[in-house]
């Protein structure tokens, strides 16, 4: 239990610092940055208390918002995906995830990708909706959602594969 808290706190700090110091300055093709900090939300223990999880996601989003001066766009998008995560988990991994302590690193590749893609796309869509905050720019919102999602999914999938502790 203690080590779970420790690892998740560490992951929180690393996610924020990696986002604001490295990933916000990549500007691939001029404007594409991966929003990798949602890594923390994707990997948060599946059996954790839901209220606590919502608050943690809110604080994570707000911290990134403070650093990148984006108001509350990250916080809102994080709270939304934190709230819908149980439904997405059930959809991607089936009902079984509730009864056993499934770890993301040990799931089948296809199921894992489905889970990551759904949450990332939803997060990015709401993030750009609130960041651009102008419905007449819906094409820019959708274009950003698509390109940023591809980049984020790539980076997150790679880092899960790289940093996973071999199946325990």
């Amino acid at each position: 239990m203690g080590s779970t808290v420790f690892w998740n706190s560490l992951r929180f700090v690393i996610a924020v610092l990696a986002q604001v110091l490295i990933c916000n300055h990549i500007n691939f093709l001029g404007y594409i940055d991966p929003l990798v900090y949602i890594y923390f939300i994707l990997l948060f223990p599946f059996n954790a208390n839901r209220s606590f999880f919502l608050v943690a996601a809110f604080i994570l989003g707000l911290t990134v918002d403070i650093f990148s001066d984006s108001g509350g766009a990250n916080a809102a998008a994080c709270v939304i995906i934190a709230y819908i995560r149980p439904f997405v988990l059930r959809f991607s991994f089936g009902i079984s995830y509730e009864h056993q302590s499934v770890k993301l690193e040990n799931t089948a590749f296809g199921q894992r990708m489905g889970y990551i893609i759904i949450l990332t796309v939803i997060h990015h869509f709401f993030f750009f909706l609130l960041e651009i905050f102008n419905i007449s720019n819906i094409l820019i919102i959708l274009r950003n959602t698509l390109f940023f999602s591809i980049f984020t999914i790539l980076v997150i999938t790679l880092s899960i594969t790289l940093f996973s502790r071999k199946n325990s």
């Binding site: 604001v20 809110f58 650093f67 001066d69 960041e131």
Partner: protein, 273 residues
């Protein structure tokens, strides 16, 4: 009563979700209106300090181009110094011969640059302890950069001209026709000048400078050149694409301008007078 409490306990996650979403939406709406993002900004000791540390490392990578810019500015200033009689006939940064306002410049350094988003906000390493205040203009040797927004103890945020809420008074050099400088969020090198009267004789590569109508910037700070222009939908005002002199993707040393007569001007122009 019992049922209400039961209902609340049963749906506590949903209520918490709605509450947190509501708070974030309030912060979002505040950030999209001018000077409202009081709590959520990077001008605090934690984020400001972290950005300053990171900038201490990353500033070494741009030392060369930054030195070249300083040499270029020194050359220009030396030119003015050694050819004093010329300095009256050409328009420079602060045209004190035609506009007797007093401006005070303070040097600062950009610790967080941003240009790829639709609302870009920069962070500088000077704050209220260095007499920086809200609504001061920020420029560098090549042109305008933005306006100071929130001020912390030793850091301040700057609304870049690459921001959808930025509106800056600008005019065509050598005429007194002015318009408003905005940004459509597309390219970090091109901003838009709107509301320019149709009677203006516009040509490609005409220079755009700041107008003296606002108290943010002195008159005559360079902005950019006319890239192309067209009439707006009502066919009586120009919309001009302006190619910036500044490379907004590579900024380091900047000046913060304080208008010493600002209060007086604002009082005179206040609507109840």
């Amino acid at each position: 009563m019992q049922q209400i409490i039961n209902f609340l306990i049963k749906n506590k996650n949903f209520i918490l979700f709605i509450l947190l979403l509501f708070i974030s939406l309030i912060f979002t709406i505040q950030s999209h209106s001018y000077h409202k993002s009081k709590f959520i900004n990077s001008a605090n000791w934690l984020s400001g300090g972290i950005y300053e540390q990171a900038n201490g490392v990353s500033s070494y990578f741009s030392l060369k181009s930054e030195n070249e810019r300083l040499v270029e500015e020194n050359r220009r200033l030396k030119n003015i110094l050694y050819n004093k009689e010329d300095s009256l006939s050409t328009v420079h940064f602060i045209d004190s011969t035609s506009y007797p306002t007093d401006f005070k410049l303070r040097a600062a350094k950009i610790t967080k640059n941003s240009y790829a988003r639709s609302n870009n906000i920069l962070l500088i390493n000077k704050g209220s302890s260095d007499s920086i205040a809200t609504d001061m203009g920020v420029i560098n040797s090549k042109g305008i950069i933005g306006v100071v927004d929130q001020v912390g103890g030793s850091h301040a945020t700057v609304i870049s001209i690459l921001n959808s809420i930025s509106k800056i008074n600008a005019q065509l050099k050598n005429t007194n026709h002015f318009g408003t400088l905005i940004w459509n969020g597309k390219s970090p090198n091109i901003v838009q000048l709107i509301d320019l009267e149709k009677v203006v004789q516009l040509k490609k590569n005409d220079t755009i400078i700041t107008g003296g109508n606002s108290t943010l910037f002195p008159k005559g700070v360079p902005i950019g050149t006319v890239k192309d222009f067209k009439l707006n939908t009502t066919e009586n005002l120009y919309e001009v694409n302006v190619q910036l002199f500044n490379d907004m993707t590579n900024l380091e040393h900047v000046f913060v301008i304080e208008n010493l007569h600002r209060e007086e001007i604002d009082n005179l122009l206040a609507p109840n007078n």
